[in-house]
Symmetry: C2
Subunit: 212 residues, 2 copies
């Protein structure tokens, strides 16, 4: 991933402007309904610039998913919950954080990867894989927290850290769909409450108090 998009100069390149436009426009209208001209208009660049940096619209889709991965990774890596030392507390704080960022307009907090993969999973395998990497990559960071917490609190379970991490992502993605259907974040927040309760129950929060 050699991204020399700002190429030493301060102002953003056309490529970066197009990618940021893609995050915004695709999350609002979906991938198929987003035209190349839409992106150029939003980014304030011309079509020539678009096809200079991306060989096709699909190529932009793949790059947008990768760019989404990068920006969200940086976002979560610097989130406040990361400083919590106890892995279970950190995991629960992660869920609280996911709930707390359900603010503003829907396109601002919903997931690009989830939105895109839903439309293109059969028609654009390259984009699908890029979206999977984004979602699975984030799930892996959650899985690490879960694994740590399982060891710390000596949890032996039928479920795996991996499956719980993916389940958490499923709940969040599904919460976004309900939020879109009802055009409001409230349902999504309620679903994350249920998810938190489930995690607490799995780790027997309340009963268990001392670590191993």
């Amino acid at each position: 991933m050699d991204d020399d998009m700002t190429s030493a100069t301060g102002r953003p390149s056309a490529r970066e402007k197009l990618l940021n436009a893609a995050l915004s426009v695709i999350r609002t209208k979906g991938y198929a309904a987003t035209t190349v001209d839409d992106l150029c208009r939003t980014a304030g660049v011309t079509k020539g610039a678009f096809f200079h940096h991306f060989k096709s619209k699909e190529d932009l889709g793949v790059a947008a998913a990768a760019w989404w991965s990068e920006t969200t990774s940086a976002f979560f890596d610097s989130a406040p919950y990361q400083t919590i030392s106890d892995p279970l507390e950190r995991l629960l704080a992660y869920l609280d954080f996911r709930k707390s960022i359900l603010a503003g307009e829907l396109p601002e907090f919903t997931c690009l990867a989830g939105t895109m993969v839903q439309e293109v999973y059969e028609t654009h395998p390259a984009i699908r894989d890029a979206c999977d990497m984004s979602i699975s990559g984030h799930a892996a960071t959650v899985e690490a927290m879960i694994r740590e917490a399982m060891i710390r609190y000596a949890i032996t379970a039928e479920w795996t850290a991996s499956s719980l991490a993916l389940h958490i992502q499923a709940v969040i993605q599904g919460a976004f769909i309900l939020a879109k259907a009802k055009h409001g974040a409230a349902v999504a927040a309620a679903s994350i409450d249920h998810l938190r309760r489930y995690v607490e129950m799995l780790f027997d929060v309340g009963a268990t108090r001392s670590a191993g």
Copy 2:
């Protein structure tokens, strides 16, 4: 909802063929990528027939969501779990049923409403509302089971039957997204396992055995 689509005659009308084509094609390619010609070709009718029955593509989208509601309602109403008298057992059997139908190709078991609303929630409010009605309508039937089970097992909780029913739908919708990203139903099944475990825990299955 006056659907006289077969209009007394045996063979399906163009309208019904178009709606069934819509369920299939839109779940495969998404709404925006589906063209009117796609639908006509799949349904085996001409464009004249299309615009005779639907005043626009958006109108077809709304009708497809309503048609999806009707067919899925009939499907779940006649599902085996409905005969189980104990409401909690019925609820758990519903989840087992949802898991068991994760078979075949992805477009065959994923949700039209969830797929469509994801793309059109900002651009086509009429379709969004039709999708919401489909999802919320189904959630209401699950909510009834939960409510009944809460009374039967004298559950007093911080959560409501309504919020749990919507959470269940969120998990299922999210499971579909992960299944699409990973191009296989396995993740979805694993997520429903977690969901079942959560419901069991909420109703304290194992500890509780006698009804009130």
